[in-house]
Structure formats: C-alpha cells, structure tokens
Symmetry: D2
Subunit: 344 residues, 4 copies
C-alpha cells in the first residue's frame, strides 16, 4: 500500500516515517512539508537519508492512505480533496475529534473547516472504537493526553464503579509541544524545571470528556484536567483520581484485587495495553506503541488511582495512527509496531 | 553563634553549609559525618574546601545550635544528649514532626526513640508556627513535600472555603532521595523518565494531615497524596485539588479574584512566600528559600487548584532550618537567605 | 538460528534482546543472568515481558551462537566450554580484543584466563575485518570508544596522510558505565555536570592503538586518549585531532574536499558508516547501528579533525554484535539492524 | 556605588543582577533592555521581583559604572557616550577584546565601531592583567571559553615548558548560547545529544591566541580550538593538550609533580583559581566565580593535559565582570563573590 504523509517535517511526521520504514505492508511514496518543498528530506533530517524522499507541494494522486500531521484547521482544509477523492485519511490534528463543531470552535478559536464531514469520522482509539474505525474513512487520531487518560479511565467508567468526581494530573515530555520555537521550549528555560501550563483548561480536555462519557449512560464525569511540562523529550504519565462507588465493588471500596481484575479483563485481548503489577515508568514505553496502566485504590479515602504511561509520539500519535491504518486495511493491528522499548 | 552540623555529608547537610557560609550571625564550628570521621570535608566535597572543616565523631560541646541531618531514629538518638545539655536543636528528620508516637511507629516502622520529648518540640514551619518555634528548643524541620503542600493549602483551610476532598499530586527532583545509591536514582534508569512512587502512601502524608487539620476545627481533610519522581536534581512542584464550599466565597465558586485576595492577605507579611500572578516554575526557586504559590479555580467543576513550587533542599530543608534558627535566636528571618534564584 | 545470551541483565544484554527481537534469522532461546537465575526476565525488566524468557544458570546446549555480555575475565571463563563445544561466540568484554596477553594483564589487572585461545579470535569491527571475522569462531566485539575512534581514523591511517601525533577527545553518555551502582552514576551527582575520567589512561586505548597501527606498516601513532562523562543516557562523540602529512594530500594540507573524498571512497560500500556533510550529533544515531563521520581540516594549523558519533549500546555493543553474527552465519549484514534513529 | 546594566534581559545580565544583589558596595540603580522599555523587570523575570527595577531606554546619568550585556557592535556603539562621559565601563561583548580591529572585522563580519578606543581598553582577566585593568576605564570582559582556556594554559606558557602544538577541546552548556531562540537550542533537538559546532573556527579562538602569546615572547602557539554543545544549562569544561618541552621540566617530560607545583605556584595568591588534586567537574563550580584547574601529563606521549572548569555565566561572564569592577574601584576582589557552589 502506498502511504502519503502531509507535513512530514514535524515530530509526528518524522516518527511516522520511522515506524512505516519497518512496516511490511505500507510504503511511504509521497510526502509534503510546510515550507521545504523541493528539498530532499535528508537535507533537513540527515538521519532519514535512507528514506530517499523529496518533499513536494502535493501528495501523489495514487496514495492509498493519507496521514496528516498538519496543525488543526490546516489539516481539514488540506484533507478535503483527499476525502472527496475516496482516499482513506488519518488526521493527527484535532479537526475530526470533537463531535460538536461548536465545541471545536470554542476550544480552537476558529470555525470548523468541514463541519459536514464530522459524522463520517471515527475517533481513532482502537481499544474502544475498533469497529467504527474499520467502517470509517476519516480517522481522527486521538491527542496524546486523551489516549493515556481515556485508556486509564475506561474500565472504571464502563464498569460503573467510580463517581463523577475525576481529576487527571498529566505530565508530559516536551516533544508534544512540537518543533516550533518558543521560550517555553528553549533548553535553558525548561531544563531542570517543572511547570504547570494551560491551567485554565487544556484543549485535550473536551476529547476526554466526550469519549469517556460515551462509555456509561448513567454517569457524566466532572473532570478537572491539569497538564505539566517535564524536561524530558518523550513520555506522558497521567495520574487519575476518582471517587469510588463501593456498591459496584462488592460493597468494598478497598478491593484492589477486584479492580485490578476488572482492568485485566477489560484489556485482556489488547496487544498495546498492559495492566502492570508495579507502577510503570514512561521509559518502559520509549519508542513503543504500549500503554502501561496501573490501577490501585487509596483505601484510606475510598478513591481510585490509576497511573498510565505512553510514548506521546508513538501510542500518543504516530504509532496509534499506524495501528488505525492497519485496522482500516485489515492488517493485524501490531504490524510494524512490534518494537520493544529503547532501554535505558 | 557557633553552629554544629550532625551528618554534614548528605545533601541536606552540604546545602546547610552552603547557606551558613554566607550567614552573618552563625559560624559552622563543628561537624560530623556518618562514616568519614577524621577526613577533611574537602576530601569528600572539593567545592567546600573554603570551609576548612574536619569531620569529627562528636560535635564540640560549645556549639550554640545543633542542626541534625541524620536519618530518622538515628537523629533523635544522637540529639538526646544535646537537648539534655540545653542546646537548641533543629532536626531535619521526621523524629519530632508527628505528635503521636504511634503514628510515627506505623509510618517509620520503629518505636519512637524519644516519645517523652515530643511535647516540647515545635513543627518548624515558620509561616504557621512562628510563636511556638520561638518558644521551643527542639524544632522539627518539616519534610520537603509537606512544606509546599501545607503552605499551598493553609489559606484555604484557615478560611474554610474548601471541602474535605483534597488531592495532592506532587512532583519532585531526585536530590530529595539523598546521596545513598539505589537503582531508582541510577542515572540511566531515571533520566528521561517519569515515575510515580510510594503509591500506597508516602511517609510525608501524615505530617500534612496533622498540620492542616490544626488550622480548622470544623474540617478534617480526606487527603490523597501521590508522589512522582522527575529527572531533575532540585525542585518540588505540588498540584493541589480541593472541592470548594461556595458559601464561604460570597456564594460564588468561580471567584478567582477573591481566592487570590485571600491568599495574598494570608501571606502578606511573609518574606518567603509569594502569591504569584502566573503559574510558577521550580526553576524560579532554585537555590532560594522561596515558596511560590499560584491559586486558581476550575470554574467548570467548582474546584480549587493550587500550584506551589519550592527548592526541596532550601525551603524544603536547609533554608527553612536556617529560617528556624534565625527565629530561635531572634535574628531577622531572612538573615543569610537573601539569595535570588540561580537562573537559568 | 538459536541464540543464547550470557548475562542478559546488563544494559548490553538487554539491548541485544531488543535488537534480536526483530531479527528474522535469530531467536533468543536461552539466557543467563548474574544473580537472578529462576526469575522471569519480565520481573526485572517489565518492558521485556513479550520475550517470555526465564533466566537460567546455564545456556541450553543447543544454541547455535553465544553472545556474552559478562564482564572481562568472567566472560572468557564462561565461554571456554562453549568454544570447546564448537559453538560460535561473540564476546562483548575485552577478553579477546588484545593480541598480547601481557598487554591485557597490564590494563585489566589480572592474568588472561585463556591466552591460548587468543590467536583464534578476530577483532569484530566488520568494516575493517570482515574476512577474519567470517573465518573465526571467537569474535571479540570492540569497545564502544574504539569503534568510533578506529572508524574515524582508519581512512586517514590507511591513506598515510596523517602524522604520528594523534589526540582523541571522547565524550560518552552514562549507559556505557553499565547498570552497577556508583556515586559517579548517581543521578544528582552526574546530572548537569561534565567530567573527565580515567585521565591517566582508559582501558580502551590499547585496542585503538593495536587496530589502527595494523592499517599502516610505516606509521605508529602516538595516541593521547581522553574520556569524558556527559549527562545523557546513550551516545558517544569522539573528536579526533591528528597532524597532516601534506605530501600525501597532493601537497596541500588544506584540501578538505580531497580528504572528504578519501573518506567517502573508503566507506562507499558500508551500510553502517556514513560520511556526513555536516558535523553529526549523537541523537542522529539513537537506537541505530550507524557510525556518522565528519572529516575536516584545521587549515590554519595543518591538522586533521574528525568528528564521529555512535550509539554506544548499538554500534558500540549489541548492534555490532548482531552485525558480526550476521557475518558469521552468512546473512546480509543489515539483517535486524534496519532501524532509523529515534528522533527527537 | 551606583551600577547600571545595559540589556539586563539576557542571561548574562540577569546573572549579574543576581550577583550584585548580594554585593555590599554596588547597587543596581538603572537598567535597560533591548525591547522591554517601560516594563517592570519582574514582569519578565518573576524571580527578580525583589529587585524592584523598571527597564528604561537609557541608563541614568549618575551611575558610577556601566556593565554592558549587549551583543557585539551594539555594545560599543552604546558604550561610547558613557566612556566619553568618563564613566567606567565593563563590556561583556567582544568589542574591546581584540587588539587589532582587522582581526575583529574578520571574525565578527563588521567594521569595528570604535577602533580609536581599543588602546585604552584592558583585557579583563584579573589573574593575568590585574594592573592594566585597574589602570583602564574600559574593561573587555573575556569570553567564557577564553577564560577557562587561558587560565588552563597560562602557567605552562609562562614557564615555557610546552611546544607550539596546542589543541583545546571545549565542552559547554547551553546557556552560553543565550536566550535567543534557535533550533539548536530547542529542547527536543538538543536534549540527550552531543554536537560539535563552529568546527571551522569559533570566534573565541583569536582571544585565546592573542592573550596566551603575550605570556611568552619566544613561543607562538598553533592552536586548534574546537567547541561542543552539551545538554546542560551551565558549565564549561576545557581539555587542553600540548606538547612538552622536556628541557624546561628538569629534563623529564613525565614529571607530573613538577608541573603541578608550577601551576600551584602560579596561582598561589588567586582566590578564584584552584589547582585541584582530582579532575574537577563543572558541577563543582555551579553559581561560583571559581576556575578549577587540573594539570597532568600523558607520560606515554610526552604531552601536557589540563582540564579546567568554570560556570560560564559567572567566571565566564557576570562574576568576572564583578571581579573586574571590584578591581576598578579598589574593593577586595572577592567582594560579592563569596558564594559556594550549588551542589548537587
């Protein structure tokens, strides 16, 4: 299958190229960049010289699938022609994630470019939406924070044993902020420091609420979602706190074994979600499509705690995109994603 | 005044030496280490050669104040003679922090070495306990996490506008784990990674509960306290989440200006607590005795959010110890602590 | 082919497992550790749970190749039985690298365990010794520093255009120091610091001298070799300085184009050495078997400068071992080593 | 004394403010920035709120000393009025470092703005030029690399025991590149990587050659000078390699004790240079005005090796500027510079 990448020159695009390079079913045949048309990809990224790709203005017509690593709004605008052309598309941006275009406008500050296309898009979190992904031709690749957050909360929500009070405290490496320059990502400013950001509300929050609430008709979560920047390149760790409804845990709110069993059952067939026996670290996911999840209970206070880790550029972006592409074309989901973590 | 330091060879002890070196009123005259008696301090720490100190088995008798950077249990055992001798002592360990020796035993796994001395000790958080510190001769220097956590919560608790539901998600640099070797603090394991630890309960939690609850007779917090290790050397950032009681905020739970005013009023006379207009970063506290606090409200969900930052070795250990020593001897609290942050 | 790994629990062993996991021709069937016999590998390294391996005391008899990641001396002692048994072995340690057992003894402080086996071993740097590797059954996998250093110097030495005066200033990430604990690799000590170490002579120096001198009968280099520890996990960068013999550069000592052409010609058929147009960075090699080499001239002073980068655990250890194994068994050298760098 | 700072908003300026804040003789009374006139300094740097300074377009007329942290060319242009006005000036830029304006033009790509003022400027390395600094009213504060390099080489050059062949391999933290944004200093690009830069010649090289050659009429060094970027915020380590002239070492080229004695004698009265017994680390200088120097010999090859460390923003910039200011006004050189290293 021929794959095209829109805007390969960002971190998400480069990571996608790295993964597809070892994929047996997809070949990258055509790529664009935002400002480097005509250049060889290796002029910008010497480590990609083996791919032997030239950056173009437009993708070739014959690509079977289009991955877009463009920013929001620009992505939908560019994808329109490909969608209309009958090509399958996977969008790394937020453009097709939110069901409600008004919600999109309120968070992204611009009218949705293609509101009429929203109902044909699927939210590309395979562990929850495998069927709708397979049936769709527009896949909205989830945000990095939502991937970890939704996977961490889903078993509890689907099994109704939490209350509406949910707090997610998320910590992310810097690559999630992309390749664009800013004082926030200037080495000397960020290094050896921790900061909270987007404290009045991060754009990834509405995705989490939308998708989690679909899992339980009787519960609408009240989510506080806080994001922190950590001076590492890759990795997201989310710490999820929620009240427990003891009625749903055999009357016991301190039944750690039970909630662990629920989580293991929920993900028993998943290749890319592992329920761990010990609190995971982001390093254990480096370069892989794994989401590691550790559920436990604060038995003093009757609260669920879930720790989840991903590599934000793999399961949080390019790896999940490949997983979605595998679903769209009927390949085994793990094709091209067999890599073990780069450790240490 | 002559100052003695028990166990100067740990990170807390070295930092105390750095600070006292520029203190106009205290001079370090005598120091011990755990295993290096007879050596010159500069053999272990070349950058301290200017201090010209030899590590001894015992402190000289003539020191006016004893700072102990020994581990728990060992600290109280060693301090007993100094206390009995009428010397003022400031203890970096947990030995005199908890009012209840049973609570101590349950968290530290050993019977309290000096239970009869507990009632003469003060909890050395000057912003809350200035008077009792001045009146005491044993000062329990607070833990690093509790310092940031209690200062972040105190104005809300004292002003009764929160509910009992409190979650503290704390992130710490590695120096808090000390100079002892472990795989957890081995560079290659920790670098470029984030991890949660002590998930079933960190030893610093009971301190926080004990001291916060003293601030309000009508409210007992239900605290979930989670700690995370971040690959930086110094710095703690705590993110505090609590329910809001709107009755106490003029009926409005979204009154960010009001809670900020409450916080500013509460700390208006404090030299070492700054209520900030923007979310602070740990880098802004590097090397200083400052605690930076940013209170805000999640107006969608009626929850208080407070971000607080300190340098765990200064306001979280040695700097606070010097602040306490200044109180004990009647010096201005900021003596020797005038330093600006090392930036970047 | 069945592969066995002696001491998989060090960083070299774990990296080898990661690489072999995607190798189409070798399967890891048997592994030992130094102290964890009986444990499942995933108990120590959760991210390796997919390998489903149990650590044993001895390798199974039926392995076709033995990779040893044991320390020096212990490695040769353990490999003897496998060698005598006719199995091919690749040794990560220094035991079979030095031709002269007295040289070994002087640098490693112990008599060589198997001096009679030295003449049947090859020095496993494929770019220089492909034929002798293929003909041998004991491959001494080169040290990490020597790999980068020898590859950086070889074209100049083989083409006789340098003088005997050679200085190599090497900078390494911390993973090269292994998983054993020490104050030198304690996070807080090393982080945000640079240090020189082994200043009176690093053990990797004699390898470099031995192998480089084989390339030119008329020149014996006088090598100063200095090593520095850098607070990153992976990566080695060596900066090589050598006098130029202008007679061998068409009479011109400032002919940068010519020396670049010599380097490109020398490595034109190599998959794992790239002569770059710009100074390379270690990040461009992360997780890959590439050695990136940038030769230039200090035209003011008539000196050759060569910058070379590798990932110390891949081309400097496990990846090169796989490259050697591919040679031993007649597989294409790049089998299992097709990976692009993990960037950023 | 009243001090003014031109362009306080760069890293050099901020560091100067931090140091002067604890200086007993100088008070910062007036500051400018490059683009923030009218703003309070604390709006840009919250951690400097204690200074209570407003950024102005021009310094007040009444300042006794002007520190300029402006870039080259802009600095001399701005300083002219202050010099003409009879104020003492200390310039962080390169504008007054090179004796020959043609040399300046060839390295900085612009004609020198004030060539007629060069002969009244002193090169502000106090350990070598104390007298000329005191006699001058324009002090050219040395570059960060030259400070470490010259101090490392000076005793050998002055004592004539080296040959002309000198190689300096320098490693620097990122803060030396300043606060301006670039892809090179973007966190994700630089973190966990090592790179060589300015390989065809760094601008700091001519300073080193100029000043070193002044120390010995009979020897002109042939210097290769290479710079590397290391992912830490602060710190420079230089590794100096030079041939030894054994005639000057009592006929012995392996006399490590002798060269150490020469170095110690050379710096015996210096407060800010320490000849160490062990190879120093940059961490040992963090936040201090110290230069740590470790001389040794590669006895196999008859070469001098010197390792030197500084904090590039202190002894390499702001601290040295304060040391120079102390000299200009007759204060003890260590005034305001008594700080011990921030460790760990």
């Amino acid at each position: 299958m021929k794959a095209g990448i829109l805007n390969i020159t960002g971190y998400g695009g480069v990571e996608l190229a790295r993964i597809l390079n070892r994929h047996t079913e997809f070949e990258i045949t055509s790529v664009t960049g935002r400002s480097a048309a005509g250049e060889n990809l290796s002029d910008i990224f010497p480590h990609l010289s083996g791919l032997n790709l030239t950056i173009k203005d437009q993708l070739d017509d014959d690509v079977d699938i289009v991955f877009s690593a463009l920013p929001h709004a620009a992505s939908a605008q560019k994808l329109k022609a490909h969608i209309d052309n009958g090509q399958k598309v996977i969008d790394f941006s937020a453009d097709f994630r939110l069901d409600d275009p008004k919600e999109y406008e309120s968070w992204y500050g611009t009218a949705h470019p293609l509101p009429n296309y929203l109902n044909t898009a699927s939210y590309g979190l395979p562990e929850l939406n495998r069927k709708s992904i397979k049936a769709s031709s527009i896949v909205a690749n989830p945000g990095c924070y939502p991937t970890a957050s939704i996977l961490a909360l889903a078993p509890a929500m689907a099994n109704s044993f939490i209350t509406e009070d949910v707090i997610i405290d998320a910590k992310s490496g810097v690559s999630g902020a992309g390749r664009g320059l800013s004082l926030d990502t200037h080495f000397s400013e960020l290094n050896e420091s921790i900061k909270a950001y987007s404290v009045s509300g991060h754009r990834h929050m509405p995705e989490v609420i939308q998708e989690i609430n679909k899992l339980n008709n009787d519960l609408k979560i009240k989510l506080t979602f806080m994001t922190h920047l950590i001076p590492i390149t890759r990795g997201i760790l989310v710490s999820v706190y929620a009240g427990i409804n003891p009625l749903k845990l055999e009357g016991r709110s301190n039944n750690i074994d039970l909630i662990r069993a629920i989580y293991q059952e929920y993900y028993k067939n998943e290749k890319f979600v592992t329920v761990t026996n010990q609190p995971p670290t982001t390093k254990q996911t480096l370069g892989t499509n794994q989401c590691l999840i550790y559920p436990t209970i604060d038995t003093r206070n009757n609260r669920l705690i879930v720790i989840a880790c991903i590599d934000n550029l793999v399961k949080g972006a390019a790896g999940q995109a490949v997983q979605n592409a595998n679903i769209l074309f009927g390949f085994p989901e793990e094709t091209g994603l067999e890599e073990l973590a780069l450790y240490p």
